[in-house]
């Protein structure tokens, strides 16, 4: 044990430690991968928006259908109508990006409002918010969307509004419990005793200082949710309609050839879904354990 004491004077004191240093090795892998996915999604969105694609995603080439990756200049092959797979995968991001952000925005904004109502003021508001949360939780999301589709029309924005609305309880309950935790620590009484007004306490001290990491994490997970829901619905035929490509309807269109042993047209978009959703999940969970970690010994 002499070994231990000899290090005593070689150890420097690092009093300020960045989040990144605090993150465990796995968290770093998670977050790194997640950020890569986010970056790819944003780049793809910009590429799609500016039209800077390797091929025209709608250009049909019947001579080269269902080509495997890297044939004839098509990096990811072609689909059953000979359209370039890579271009279609990139342009598909258009179908998710803004609607997904809308869903996240709805969930975050309304969820925060409800959470603050329930947690900060409590009483009847808390009961009402809990009721509404439970009510929204009672519907299986996809079934509710199908009801909306039957009642109105299949439209990606309607769908994303529902995704956002059904995510409200999740955000609300997180904010609610965070505020309750702060109340337990007499944090809010202390702030009130200092003479701060409600507005400052809620926005600056509760939301900004204590809830922003929760909100960032929820936004990340919400994006995964939105993509998953969109692909499921496009697959079912209620989301984005052909010929506008989306990963879901690309899998669906390719599925007819799947049973014939032509895997690629549906596998490529399926893998895109896999990597994207995994990225957002890993990013959310990695951020969660990095930002919400209690100090280690």
């Amino acid at each position: 044990m002499r070994r231990f004491s000899q290090y005593a004077f070689e150890i420097s004191d690092v009093s300020h430690v960045s989040f990144w240093k605090k993150a465990g090795p796995m968290d770093r892998v998670y977050i790194g991968y997640g950020l890569l996915v986010v970056l790819l999604v944003v780049i793809s969105y910009l590429l799609g928006a500016t039209g800077a694609l390797p091929y025209d995603p709608q250009e049909i080439n019947l001579e080269l259908i269902m080509a495997p990756p890297n044939t004839g200049g098509h990096l990811l092959g072609t689909d059953f109508m000979g359209r370039d797979m890579l271009s279609r995968l990139i342009i598909s991001i258009q179908a998710y990006f803004l609607p997904g952000l809308l869903a996240i925005g709805i969930a975050i904004v309304f969820g925060t409002c409800f959470g603050v109502f329930a947690g900060y003021w409590g009483g009847a508001l808390e009961t009402a918010t809990t009721y509404v949360s439970n009510l929204l939780n009672s519907f299986p999301r996809l079934v509710l969307i199908l009801l909306m589709v039957a009642a109105f029309k299949p439209d990606i924005y309607y769908i994303m509004i529902i995704v956002g609305v059904t995510n409200i309880p999740v955000v609300a309950s997180l904010i609610h419990s965070k505020i309750q935790f702060l109340k337990q620590k007499n944090f809010i009484e202390a702030a009130t005793a200092l003479g701060l007004n409600n507005c400052t306490i809620i926005f600056k001290h509760i939301l900004w200082h204590n809830c922003r990491s929760v909100l960032i994490i929820q936004a990340t997970l919400g994006m995964a949710e939105a993509i998953l829901m969109e692909t499921s619905l496009s697959y079912l035929g209620f989301g984005v309609q052909e010929p506008t490509p989306s990963w879901g309807n690309m899998v669906q269109a390719g599925s007819n050839y799947f049973m014939q042993g032509k895997f690629w047209p549906s596998t490529a978009p399926a893998l895109a879904i896999l990597f994207a959703i995994m990225g957002f999940h890993l990013l959310g969970d990695g951020l969660n354990s990095m930002l919400e970690r209690k100090g280690d010994r």
């Binding site: 009510l135 009801l147 499921s232 697959y235």
Partner: protein, 315 residues
């Protein structure tokens, strides 16, 4: 002790039942609002149709006000009369209950599959910490959770056709020795890739770790008692019931897709068909039944919580 302990539990359970009933009333109202607001007001037609079906002699006129329509519909709802499907003309309730059994089997089965995969991984990594084994298993759960369920369905179908010469697409039509296999495949597919495994593992692992670090577990160790025994209720039973209650909606949603892939005659497929046909009485009935299933799950969770946790009665 027994008597004094039982009474608050019954009171609390009754309270939970009341809350569940209130929530289902809310569910019906939400469904009503959606249909009432939709273009062409199919709801008025629906109420008229229900009333006519119940009493063919009555005047086929819908109540004029929205609350009139809602209460007429609600009254029929309590009688079990949800109207008839537009496409088939059969009573909705019968239709939904007929296929609901299949969906219930699919849901419970795949929930079991999910738990069978997730719980051992969670327990292992809570107990052992982050070893290479538990790390690779955790990454595996992330991959599996992100798998698009329909694609996994195709792979499984492809394999079963080309390897085993089975055609699960023709659901239940063959009566061969492999028949049970047809029933197993969708359950497995939905159980594996309903997208909740990574969350379940994460939640259960964190809860168990938290409970293992509780002071009363240190006490249990100090007196030589089993850590498992003392952490079972808070670290395992309560989180598991919470997970089940919380994931039922997701699995019901996933069932819509899986039933579509496997031609499984369940509620999800019926909902899809109804949405295609805009058969709103039918999808309304399905939504209500699905909501009832979800609330049953939560009710189960609350009851377990009340029975297990002595503090629940003081909350």
């Amino acid at each position: 002790m027994k008597l004094s302990a039982v009474r608050p539990i019954t009171v609390l359970v009754t309270r939970e039942l009341g809350i569940a009933a209130l929530l289902l009333l809310g569910v019906s109202f939400v469904v009503f609002v959606i249909l009432y607001l939709s273009p062409g007001n199919p709801f008025a037609t629906l109420v008229t149709r229900i009333e006519t079906a119940a009493d063919p002699g009555a005047a086929a006129a819908a109540p004029a006000t929205w609350y009139g329509q809602y209460f007429t519909w609600l009254k029929n709802l309590f009688k079990g009369n949800l109207g008839n499907s537009i496409r088939t003309g059969l009573p909705v309730l019968q239709e939904v209950v007929r296929v609901g059994i299949n969906t219930l089997y699919l849901t419970i089965g795949s929930l079991l599959v999910t738990l069978l995969i997730a719980v051992p991984i969670a327990v292992f990594s809570a107990r052992r910490g982050m070893t290479p084994t538990s790390w690779s298993m955790t990454v595996f759960t992330y991959v599996v959770s992100a798998l698009p369920v329909f694609w996994l369905g195709y792979i499984v179908i492809y394999i079963s056709i080309h390897r085993f010469g089975l055609f699960p697409l023709a659901f239940g039509s063959s009566a061969g020795p492999w028949n049970w296999f047809y029933f197993l495949l969708p359950v497995l597919v939905l159980g594996i890739s309903n997208g909740t495994i990574s969350e379940v593992v994460r939640y259960l692992r964190e809860e168990m770790k938290r409970v293992f670090a509780e002071e009363y577990i240190v006490t249990a160790r100090a007196k030589g008692a089993s850590v498992w025994k003392h952490s079972f209720k808070e670290g395992f039973l309560i989180p598991i019931t919470e997970i089940i209650a919380a994931k039922i909606p997701f699995i019901l949603g996933g069932a819509v897709v899986v039933e579509q892939v496997f031609n499984w005659p369940g509620m999800g497929r019926m909902a899809w068909q109804a949405a295609q046909d805009r058969d709103y009485p039918l999808i309304m009935g399905i939504t209500l039944v699905a909501a009832i299933i979800v609330r049953m799950g939560s009710l189960m969770q609350r009851v377990v919580h009340i029975i297990v946790n002595p503090r629940a009665s003081k909350e």
